[in-house]
């Protein structure tokens, strides 16, 4: 029975770590995979989602509705940013990074000035349950389910909808897609909005588990970056396995030596992966397939 309990505890940790990696990285991965843009303000969109959710909850909305509202708010801000800044910088990836870094500074410091250094949070719903001698949070299980659901929804969006087809065409050969009548401008704008909304969703989902500060997005940024790097350019087949592999690595080292060792192991794993598989997991899998 003890072994069963320990196994459950370990699986729970892996699930928790993988869910965190998936949720932290999808928004970044969508924007990077489709537009080749690394959005340095990703953490700030997560923060917007979390703040939006907390405000909506305080206004009396139930948590799920509040999370969706927070996510939409982040998405709208994302589309505005795309219209004002990003759309002028296509084809200049390094400049885009620098520009989004500027946006990130403006947003995090702006929120600090407007709303102060802390913000009343949301309490964690559902309570906890016990297996063996340890207690676990139900809400963490909800997060794992949400991560799985999100991966499925993204797969569906890309493979089974009109938007997905147009988006994939735009990724493959932008000028050809344009010649065939795809409004690539709109696709890019929607994609950036989607990425920001996904970041907002992550913020909303994790809002009940975190302290609300303007720099809360930076908690996610390291994990988001490494997952995208390991996943490679094709996010739809890269992100999930990357989160899986890194989740196991992180959980193993965290349970062995603590949180920080987990993060260090994560980074070492990333450096090793990019040395062995320079195009990330997705590049490697595509090569194997052909």
């Amino acid at each position: 029975m003890d072994i069963g309990n320990a196994l459950f505890g370990f699986l729970y940790q892996i699930g928790d770590a993988a869910a965190f990696l998936v949720l932290a990285s999808t928004g970044l991965a969508v924007v990077f995979g489709m537009m080749g843009v690394i959005n340095m303000a990703h953490g700030e969109f997560i923060m917007f989602g979390a703040y939006g959710t907390a405000m909506a909850v305080r206004a009396g909305l139930p948590l799920p509705a509040a999370i969706i509202l927070g996510s939409l708010a982040a998405g709208v801000i994302g589309m505005i940013v795309e219209r004002l800044v990003i759309c002028r910088l296509y084809g200049r990836p390094l400049d885009t990074i620098v520009a989004t870094w500027g946006i990130s500074l403006i947003f995090s410091q702006g929120i600090l000035i407007l709303l102060g250094s802390s913000f009343p949070g949301v309490s964690t719903p559902f309570g906890s349950f016990t297996v063996g001698t340890y207690s676990y949070s139900w809400y963490r299980l909800v997060l794992m389910a949400a991560a799985l659901l999100l991966l499925f929804a993204l797969w569906f969006l890309v493979n089974r909808t009109q938007f997905g087809i147009l988006a994939r065409a735009t990724i493959q050969v932008p000028h050809m897609a344009e010649a065939l009548g795809v409004k690539t401008r709109t696709i890019y704008s929607l994609t950036f909005g989607l990425g920001a909304a996904l970041a907002g969703l992550t913020g909303g989902l994790y809002a009940p588990t975190m302290t609300m500060v303007p720099t809360m997005g930076s908690t996610f940024i390291l994990e988001a970056f490494v997952t995208v790097v390991v996943g490679g350019a094709d996010i739809f087949i890269g992100t999930a396995p990357a989160a899986g592999v890194l989740g196991i690595t992180k959980a193993l080292f965290t349970s062995w030596q603590g949180q920080l060792t987990g993060q260090i192991a994560l980074l070492v794993a990333v450096i090793l992966v990019i040395r062995l598989l320079p195009k990330g997991l997705s590049g490697w899998m595509l090569k194997e397939r052909t």
């Binding site: 390094l94 400049d95 990074i97 520009a99 403006i106 320079p278």
Partner: protein
């Protein structure tokens, strides 16, 4: 005869101070340059120690900017994590000098050892990155991740169990109390506190680095570096090992960042983990982007002016300073992607040529 043989390479080397990769040649550039230099050298005589120390503080950061300019502007590899090497340099200096003291020129050896330490760390990381053929965007992310991780690591070293020799790491509050740079001198060591002495040493180092980089980028090596920036595939086809050149630039740039870290630590006699944070990592990028990354002179002038501006802003409206920096960065990327100072310099030299 042998004497001539010896001097020829030196003359050749010095003639490379001017070349295709650096803006500014001829009297139109070097006379104003000499004027600025004279002003820089007499400045401490007409100013109080506090202001001199403050300008020296600006100078300490310029080495990191010069390194970033070499990497980003000349070799086209943008690293976001130069602050990691800044931190490594600073902490290494602190640990070495707290343990071994400041007598017999140990601080100077510690300075050299810290830079070497940063360079070795950069070579290790760079090997994995460049030999894994990591391109532009990923390179930035991985280096930034390294910097953030180092910050998180140093921030949790608060307990008394975290020490190296006698040097307590002190977690989030950082290390302090390390000795300043001390030059052994007959009749009493010269301790370089944040004042004119320190100012002159840093200024001379800066001149050395500035001319070194000018010669380096105008040499054969530098021309290959620029060729790689312009078109890596073509450079590779011509038989150059792109990885080796990029790694070289990365190691030199990171060693300069370490030098910045050491000098900063000497200047204030403290170093904290927040010098490696996400916000700190953004600042060198801002300086070099605003100056003009593809020219060393423009980068350094831009970095110096931006540093002054940032301090003025921080003094007058602390919390708005970062917002204004963000806006500046944004406006710069959108309206003057080559950098404000560089575009001004180019206009000036076009006019000069027409005459």
């Amino acid at each position: 005869m042998t004497n001539k043989k010896m001097t020829m390479p030196l003359v050749q080397c010095l003639s490379r101070v001017n070349g295709p990769q650096t803006l500014g040649r001829g009297l139109g550039f070097w006379i104003p340059f000499a004027a600025v230099l004279v002003i820089a050298f007499v400045f401490p005589m007409f100013s109080d120690d506090y202001t001199t120390g403050n300008v020296a503080y600006f100078f300490t950061w310029l080495f990191m900017a010069a390194g970033l300019c070499l990497m980003w502007g000349y070799s086209g590899t943008l690293s976001f994590g130069q602050t990691a090497f800044f931190g490594i340099g600073g902490y290494a200096y602190g640990i070495l000098t707290i343990n071994f003291g400041a007598d017999n020129g140990i601080t100077l050896y510690a300075l050299g050892a810290s830079i070497l330490f940063g360079a070795i760390a950069a070579a290790l990381l760079g090997y994995f990155l460049f030999y894994g053929r990591i391109n532009g965007v990923f390179l930035g992310i991985v280096t930034l991740a390294v910097s953030i991780l180092l910050e998180r690591f140093m921030a949790q070293t608060a307990g008394p169990q975290w020490h190296i020799g006698q040097a307590r790491l002190n977690g989030f509050n950082g290390m302090n109390g390390m000795p300043a740079l001390t030059i052994p001198w007959p009749g009493g060591d010269i301790v370089l506190l944040a004042g004119p002495g320190f100012y002159y040493v840093v200024l001379c180092l800066l001149l050395f680095v500035y001319f070194g980089i000018r010669i380096l980028v105008n040499s054969r090596w530098g021309n290959v570096l620029v060729a790689i920036r312009e078109n890596p595939e073509r450079a590779e086809m011509l038989g150059y090992d792109v990885r080796k050149f990029q790694l070289g630039a990365f190691v030199i740039g990171s060693a300069l960042a370490s030098l910045s870290g050491v000098l900063y630590t000497c200047w204030g006699q403290y170093i904290t983990p927040s010098s490696m944070s996400l916000t700190s990592a953004a600042l060198p990028i801002v300086w070099v982007a605003i100056g003009g990354r593809s020219d060393i002179t423009a980068s350094l002038v831009g970095a110096f002016l931006t540093l002054i501006l940032f301090q003025t802003l921080t003094v007058n409206g602390a919390q708005y300073a970062l917002i204004i920096m963000g806006v500046l960065l944004l406006v710069n990327v959108l309206t003057a992607p080559e950098g404000v100072v560089l575009q001004l310099l180019k206009v000036r030299f076009k006019i000069g040529r027409r005459k």
